[in-house]
C-alpha cells in the first residue's frame, strides 16, 4: 500500500492540457456503445510523437510509447489503428495542438480519431503531452500532460489510454486490471498473474503441488485459490500485499472460491458434510451459512455484480447444468437447458449476461446467455475446445483458455466472440484465467 502511494506521488499525472476544449467534450454523444455487438471499428490515427530534444534515446522511448499506445488501444477491439506510412504528416515538423494541425490531412486518410504526442526525455525523466482529436469536427476532445520516471512510461501511457476509453465509452476500461491464471511452466500447476495485455507475467505460488482456481477479491488486495499443497484440495486466501495466507481446510474438498462483490466474504464448495455444498464464508474461512440446498454436486459459484444472486453448477438433473440462486427468496432456478454438460458460469460485470462452458461434440466451448436464460450463443468454435471464460472489469472483453494450438493457451476475445487472439506465450500450459477488478494503480 505504501509503495502504491509512493508511486502515485512520484509520477504526477497532470491537468488538462487545454481545459476549454476538454470541457466541451462532456456534452458530445458517446462515441462507442459497448453493448452493440455490431460495433464498427473506429479508424484511429496515432502518428509518431514529436520529440522535444531529438536525442536518439528520447526517440527510442518515444517510439516505445507510441507502439504501446497503439497496441493497448487496439487490444480493446474498438479501433482500427491506421497504418502510419499512409499519413501526410511529419511529426517532427508538424504541430501537436489543434491550432497547428491540418485536420484535412487526417480526414483524407479516414481517421475519425487522432492522437498526437509531445515527448521529452532527459535523464530519468519523461514528460508527455497527449491529445485526442476528432478530425472531422476539427477539435481537441481530450488533453493530458504526464511527467514521471523512465520506468513509469508504461503506466503513463496506459493512464492516457484509460482516459481515451473513458471519454469514448463512459467506462473506465481495463488498463489497470490484471489477470490471474494457472501455468505449468515449472512442471507443476502454479498461480501466476499478468497485466491485462499479458505483459509482466509474475509467478505467485511456489507450492510445487497442484494450485488452481484463482479468484480476485473486489478490492484486488486478496486472491483466493485452491491448492493441494497440504495433500488435498484446500482453499488459501492470500493477502497480496503482505503475502500472508490463511487456509480453509475442512475435511473433503475445499474448492472454487468466489468473492462476494464489495465484501470480505466468499462463496465456495466444501464437502465436509459429505455433500458438496456451496457455503458463504468469511474471508478468513469461517462458515456463515450454507447457500445450496440440494444433495449431489454444487460447485463453481459466481456472484451477480450486485451480490443478490449466485450462478452455480449442479448435477441434480443428472448432468451438470447451471442454476441461479436468488439469495433474497432462496429460490433456485435452472438457467441452461441446451446441452448435456454446462459448467463454469461467470456473471458479467454489467449483470446482464452469464458466460459459461458447454460441451459440444465432445469438446468444451465458451457460450454466453442472458442472465434471464434467453438466447444462449456460442462464442468459440475451434477444434480442441475452449473453456474457463472470465470477463474484463468493464465487460467488454473475455479471457479464456483454449486447446486450439495444442497446449492450453490464454486467449482474449470481445464480449461478442470477435477478435480472438492469444494473450501471452509462456512455457507449459495456461488455464483458469480470472480477470481482476480494475482497481490496480
Amino acid at each position: 500500500m505504501r509503495v502504491r502511494k509512493l508511486l502515485c506521488g512520484v509520477f504526477a499525472l497532470v491537468c488538462f492540457v487545454c481545459s476549454a476544449s476538454s470541457s466541451a467534450a462532456q456534452d458530445t454523444t458517446q462515441y462507442i456503445d459497448i453493448t452493440n455487438p455490431f460495433l464498427r471499428k473506429i479508424p484511429l490515427a496515432i502518428p509518431m510523437f514529436k520529440n522535444v530534444n531529438g536525442a536518439a534515446a528520447e526517440a527510442e522511448y518515444s517510439r516505445k510509447a507510441v507502439e504501446l499506445m497503439s497496441g493497448s488501444l487496439d487490444f480493446t477491439g474498438y479501433f482500427k489503428i491506421l497504418d502510419r506510412s499512409a499519413f501526410l504528416f511529419d511529426p517532427q515538423k508538424g504541430g501537436v495542438s489543434a491550432t497547428d494541425i491540418n485536420f484535412q490531412n487526417w480526414t483524407v486518410v479516414g481517421a475519425e480519431l487522432l492522437i498526437t504526442g509531445l515527448f521529452e526525455q532527459s535523464g530519468d525523466n519523461i514528460q508527455m503531452e497527449l491529445r485526442l482529436f476528432d478530425p472531422f469536427k476539427s477539435r481537441q476532445v481530450l488533453g493530458k500532460r504526464y511527467a514521471g520516471s523512465v520506468s513509469e512510461l508504461r503506466k503513463m501511457v496506459l493512464r492516457f489510454c484509460a482516459e481515451v476509453i473513458y471519454y469514448l465509452t463512459g467506462n473506465k476500461g481495463i488498463f489497470n486490471s490484471r489477470i490471474a491464471f494457472v501455468s505449468t511452466g515449472s512442471g507443476k500447476k502454479e498461480i501466476y498473474t499478468c497485466d491485462f495485455d499479458g505483459v509482466n507475467p509474475t509467478r505467485l505460488t511456489y507450492h510445487e503441488s497442484i494450485s488452481l482456481f484463482p479468484a480476485w477479491a473486489d478490492d484486488g488486495q486478496y486472491l483466493a485459490y485452491t491448492s493441494y499443497k497440504a495433500g488435498k484440495p484446500d482453499i488459501f486466501v492470500r493477502n497480496l500485499n503482505t503475502k500472508k495466507e490463511t487456509a480453509i481446510a475442512q475435511n473433503g474438498i475445499n474448492i472454487t472460491p468466489a468473492w462476494v462483490p464489495g465484501k470480505f466474504e466468499m462463496a465456495a464448495t466444501l464437502s465436509f458434510s459429505g455433500n458438496q455444498e456451496i457455503y458463504l464464508l468469511t474471508g478468513a474461512g469461517k462458515v456463515i451459512k450454507k447457500l445450496s440446498s440440494n444433495r449431489g454436486s454444487n460447485v463453481s459459484p459466481s456472484w451477480s455484480p450486485d451480490g443478490s444472486k449466485l450462478a452455480f453448477v449442479s448435477d441434480r438433473s443428472g448432468s451438470p447444468q447451471i442454476y441461479i440462486l436468488d439469495l433474497g427468496s432462496g429460490n433456485e432456478s435452472r438457467l441452461t437447458f441446451e446441452g448435456k454438460y454446462n459448467t463454469q458460469p461467470a456473471w458479467s460485470p454489467r449483470g446482464d449476461k452469464i458466460v459459461y462452458t458447454s460441451q459440444v461434440n465432445g469438446f468444451q466451448q465458451v457460450f454466453v446467455i442472458d442472465a434471464g436464460g434467453q438466447s444462449p450463443m456460442q462464442l468459440t468454435r475451434d477444434a480442441g475446445g475452449s473453456e474457463s471464460a472470465s470477463w474484463s472489469p468493464d465487460g467488454s472483453l473475455i479471457v479464456f483458455t483454449t486447446h486450439r494450438e495444442g497446449p492450453y493457451r490464454l486467449y482474449v476475445m470481445t464480449a461478442f466472440g470477435t477478435d480472438q487472439r492469444r494473450l501471452l506465450l509462456l512455457n507449459g500450459e495456461q488455464t483458469n484465467p480470472k480477470w481482476s477488478p480494475g482497481v490496480f494503480n
Binding site: 500447476k189 474448492i255 464437502s271 458438496q276
Partner: protein, 170 residues
C-alpha cells in the same frame, strides 16, 4: 437424481451379492484377472510409494484401479467384484489403511471434475464400508482431472483416466 443414484447403488450392491451366492466361487476368481489386466495396462505411471516394509506384502489387486463411465460415479460390476476382493483382504489385514483417489478424464471441466472425483472415491468407500470395513480405515481424496494416468487425448486414455486409485498404508 440423488434418489435414483442411491437406488442404483443399492441395486448394484444387492444384485451381485445374490449372484455370487448362487454361483460358484470360481467365477469370481475367473473374473478377477481381466480387471487386473485392465488396471495394469495404464501403469507405466509411478507406483504408489511403498509402505515401510510390512510383515506381509500388499497383494497387487489391492492397488488395482476401478473404472467409471463418463460423468458417472456408480460402481460397475467389475468394480464391485474387485472391491469385494479388497474388502476381504482388508478384513484379514486389520492394520492396513486405504486411501482412495478419485480421478476423471480430461473432457469435463476442472471444477466439476474435482467434485466428480470425490464422488467416485466416496462410492468405493461406501461400498467397502457396507461390506463391513471400518470407515476410519479409509480416506478419500479427489484429484479431479489433474492426474491422468494416460496423457493421450482419445477414448482409450479417457476410459483409463476415469478411475479410483488405491494406496495401502500400515
Amino acid at each position: 437424481m440423488q434418489k435414483k443414484l442411491w437406488m442404483v447403488v443399492a441395486l448394484l450392491l444387492v444384485m451381485p451379492g445374490l449372484l455370487f451366492m448362487v454361483s460358484c466361487q470360481k467365477k469370481v476368481a475367473a473374473q478377477a484377472p481381466p480387471v487386473a489386466k485392465a488396471a495394469e495396462a495404464p501403469k507405466p505411471a509411478p507406483a504408489p510409494a511403498p509402505a515401510p516394509a510390512p510383515m506381509m506384502a500388499t497383494p497387487a489387486f489391492m492397488t488395482d484401479r476401478v473404472f467409471f463411465d463418463f460423468d458417472k460415479s456408480a460402481l460397475k460390476m467389475e468394480a464391485q467384484a474387485l472391491l469385494k476382493k479388497k474388502a476381504e483382504w482388508l478384513k484379514s489385514t486389520a492394520n492396513a489403511k486405504l486411501t482412495i483417489e478419485g480421478n476423471c478424464d480430461e473432457r469435463g471441466t476442472a471444477e466439476y471434475n474435482m467434485a466428480l472425483g470425490e464422488r467416485r472415491a466416496q462410492s468405493a468407500k461406501k461400498f467397502l464400508v457396507d461390506l463391513g470395513i471400518d470407515a476410519k480405515r479409509i480416506t478419500t481424496i479427489s484429484y479431479g482431472k489433474e492426474r491422468p494416468i494416460d496423457p493421450a487425448h482419445n477414448e482409450a486414455a479417457w476410459s483409463k483416466n476415469r478411475n479410483d486409485g488405491f494406496v495401502v498404508s500400515y
